[in-house]
Amino acid sequence: MHNLFIGELAERLGKRQISSVELTRHFLSRIERLNPALNAFITLTAERALQDAAAADARLAAGEKGPLLGIPLIHKDIFCTDGVKTSCGSRMLDNFVAPYDATVVARLKGAGTVMLGKSNMDEFAMGSSNETSYYGPVKNPWDISKVPGGSSGGSAAATAARLTPIATGTDTGGSIRQPAALTGVTGLKPTYGRVSRYGMIAFASSLDQAGVFARSAGDAAAVLQAMAGFDPRDSTSVDVPVPDYAKALGAPLKGLKIGLLREFFDGLEPRNAALIEEALNIYTGLGAETREVSLPHLPLSVPTYYVVAPAECSSNLSRFDGVRFGYRCEDPKDLLDLYKRSRGEGFGAEVKRRIMTGTYVLSAGYFDAYYLKAQKARRMITDDFRTAFEKVDLVIGPTTPTPAFDIGAKMNDPVLMYLNDIYTIGANLAGLPGVSVPCGFVDGLPMGLQLIGPHFAEAKLLNAAHQYQQATDWHKHAPRGYE
């Protein structure tokens, strides 16, 4: 049952061959058995899941149909869930029970999904390996000595291990696409503004976007359909009509122009490059045309991001003051001591590092040299993408420079860790949608193929990913022990 795609599950639920309660029990028992080795969850909501499943069964019994009705899922612990602990992977919010649902949570609930739990993540989504979580690292189901990527590492690992058919995530610099690649699942980061961020705990507001983990592009399309759309409660939500993503999946790729990002291939590890070449051959076979495109300013994207994102994080995280919610230190001697120790003790090392980086680049005397300079570089990178999309429909390249690395390998060198995001950050800086799909293995570990499209081109992206998955079976491989 856990190897079925949600289209197949929905069909069986619709025909009453299985019930949502049975399906939910199946996944809960897998979680109970397999999660202890992975640490993919912060909170399990088994009781509530069974109630939600019974409600979905009642809707199904009344003849209602829907692609997500009765389908279990997990939410990254960055999304507020009414009455359920929402920690964002931090000691700061270890005692925080969200007083309302995020729009993403409410919409998916309305579509009839069943929440199994909240997934582990890098603290406040700051990390590329899921090692910064207050709740300990998540392990990669392909090899538990390896990281699953981050920051949405729990959602990725749980989807790969078939502990859930689908999961939500967020992507500020690659936090959906990178862990999707390192765990062999499909991960979609939509266009900035496509999905509401109301109730999604903020990291870097000009970059954050909610998205999906699934085992196929078709499944991701069904989830995006329910998540996407205008929300008056999010001032960055864009009022652009949501197309029928499932319908877009049939379109042939003949004549589709795919751009190979030259900068992504410079210095790429040969085995990784060979997988991308192989994927290109598949696309050529499907009738797509490929040509090389260049984004000359792309090498600036990592330094640009590591100015812009920390600056915004230092501002967003100033709300954690030990007064209104979250962690408060013991016996503060005055208000300043309360602020400093609550924040110093409540935040972990990487979060403090980013707050301080952001404070520094925004401080008097440095603003022009760092923050304003980075905003200018951001425009140059964005303009490069715009120029590329005048010539091609989509651009293609690897999602990550290497497969999953050892737990602990990069924790003492933040700059080395930041370079994991080298291929994913560009899409965030330019607000573009991107998808990562499994495209093969290096050293027995999955690798991802990344497709990036123009703003609001999710339908085209998902179709290109879907057509690739019709021609290949990389997305069907399960890690050993989780088949």
Partner: protein
């Protein structure tokens, strides 16, 4: 080291973060390496480029009518507060 211990102490104060003695040298080193890394930007010619603050350029920030749209949930919200009295958040005495 591009940042000194004094620099990091000042930044930590501005950010309202207490940093322990053991943590301090680690931050001096790692923040210096980050500042050196992002300094690559200073070698890029950006003259004439307009800074970009929003990824969807030209997107206007929406305004809404100034009307009450939410009901009062202060009791529920204050359920998450470390200390509350009479519907107010409690902090250490600020004025003697």
């Amino acid at each position: 080291m591009s940042l000194t211990r004094q620099d990091v102490e000042k930044i930590a104060h501005l950010a309202r973060l207490s940093i322990t003695e053991q943590e301090m040298p680690v931050y001096v080193t790692s923040l210096s390496s980050i500042v050196d890394f992002v300094d690559e930007l200073s070698r890029t010619d950006t003259s004439g480029v307009q800074p970009m603050a929003h990824p969807l350029d030209g997107q206007r920030q929406r305004l809404r009518a100034d009307e009450v749209t939410e009901s009062d949930h202060h009791e529920k919200y204050q359920g998450n507060a470390p200390a509350v009295a009479a519907g107010l958040y409690v902090v250490p005495r600020v004025i003697e």
